[in-house]
Amino acid sequence: MNYGALIFLVGFIGLASSWFGLVLAPQLQLGRQPITKIQGGNDPYPSRRPGLAEQGLQVYRANGCVSCHSQQVQQSGTVFDVVMTELGTNQPAVVAALAKLDSKLTGASLSSLPQDVVRGVNKLQADEVNAAFKDTGAKVAVQIRPVGPDMDWGWGRRATVAADFLQDSPVMPGSQRLGPDLANVGVRKPDVNWHLVHLYAPKSVVPDSTMPPYRFLFEKRKIDRHASPDALQLTGEAAPEAGYEIVPTAEAKALAAYLASLRADVPLFEAPMTAK
């Protein structure tokens, strides 16, 4: 066999090109991204998580939460809504402009604003509608709304982008969704106590949950004179027998703080939307 060098070279080029494409190129593309700014302002984004939540990230990692939960919302498109915020003084002109448009909004429903003039249109149509009200004195606002299955689930208002993870180490976007996406779980469930009860007994707050209970993050204690202020407020089957209480460990508190801190809902240049 005289082809040893050739076979080595082909193998080397094959491995090297995949290293360039899968490791080096993403690193050059995203590796040195600076802290970005919230769209339309000068506020830096993302800010650091509170200390307890930063510890919670490591608990999240240690307990393998990432194998069932993703933290990346995806979007399939972006649409525009045109909302009328003020009627102005020239109602007949507004009603006439509305009549020309294919809008569900009619003159009769103008009493309580803001109301949607049109929803889910493209940029050109939104600009047309906007222009139609230019001389009527009514104020309309064009709103940008990302759409997709994840938005329909209520998992987020925009796609997750690399900037959302800038303060996290390691980054855990996840790849499986045996449970719901957690990119915005802090928006949906801001209450730390809800997370603690959910970690201890998932079925007591979400009846259909398939999540295993993480009871080893909690301590069952006999109540000695005074109940602990940290004790979980449990009801039904999950509640301990009389005279006992369930107290979260430091790990459980950190994990709950981390979950409550998960929110990626500000508009960014690379993920535009109208802030609420």
Binding site: Q33, Q39, G41, Q75, S76, K123, A141, A159, V161, F269
Partner: protein, 202 residues
């Protein structure tokens, strides 16, 4: 039999190193590879975003993304200014505003840009500027072409406001109304300005 095998020329071949021959590549495979490369190129062009770290699905490019940015507020106004600047001004004055030797003077901390006399600044892009001018102590003698016909009031106001607030500059925003007023006041002027004329403006 054994004698036959020994005399068979094939037997001596078995003793030697096996060798691979060469054959030409089938034409259909060449065509298939070219189709694959072409298809890959189209796919990359559509979804690659040219490796920009700011482009995520479903957006296709930074320009596509621009169309979805909020259309109101100071941020959007300056963003519009940045786009116009990079399309129109950056060719000579540089995307970093530092100008280019022998081509165009700097905008960074330039007294002509951050001036409170916005009328002077607005006139320069509207009708252009010819002849000697001193910028940050450096003498220039060049011709700045008139951009007034190419830029609507809103774009000109946005780009001047961007210049006055980028690269460390800090000055008031210029409104489209200000630009419109200057444009109306100088409507009869066809010749570029000179630095001396602008400095005489109150």
């Amino acid at each position: 039999m054994s004698h036959n095998v020994q005399s068979n020329p094939a037997a001596s071949v078995n003793d030697a190193e096996p060798r691979a021959g060469s054959a030409s590549m089938p034409v259909w495979m060449l065509v298939a590879v070219m189709v694959l490369v072409f298809g890959g190129g189209l796919y990359f062009d559509t979804y690659g975003g040219w490796f920009s770290p700011q482009v995520y699905a479903p957006y296709r490019s930074v320009n596509d993304l621009m169309a979805y940015q909020p259309v109101s507020g100071e941020g959007a106004f300056l963003l519009r200014g940045k786009v116009v600047y990079e399309q129109v001004c950056a060719l000579c004055h540089g995307a970093d505003g530092n100008g280019k030797p022998g081509q165009a003077p700097t905008f960074v901390d330039s007294e002509w840009v951050i001036t409170d006399n916005t009328g002077r600044l607005i006139r320069i892009p509207l009708q252009g500027l010819n002849g000697p001018i001193k910028v940050k102590g450096v003498d220039w003698n060049l011709a700045m072409p008139a951009m007034g016909a190419a830029l609507p009031d809103a774009d000109l106001a946005a780009v001047l406001s961007y210049m006055r607030n980028a690269w460390g500059n800090k000055a008031s925003l210029i409104t489209p109304e200000e630009v419109a007023a200057v444009r109306a006041a100088t409507a009869s002027r066809t010749q570029p300005w000179t630095a001396a004329e602008l400095e005489a403006l109150k």
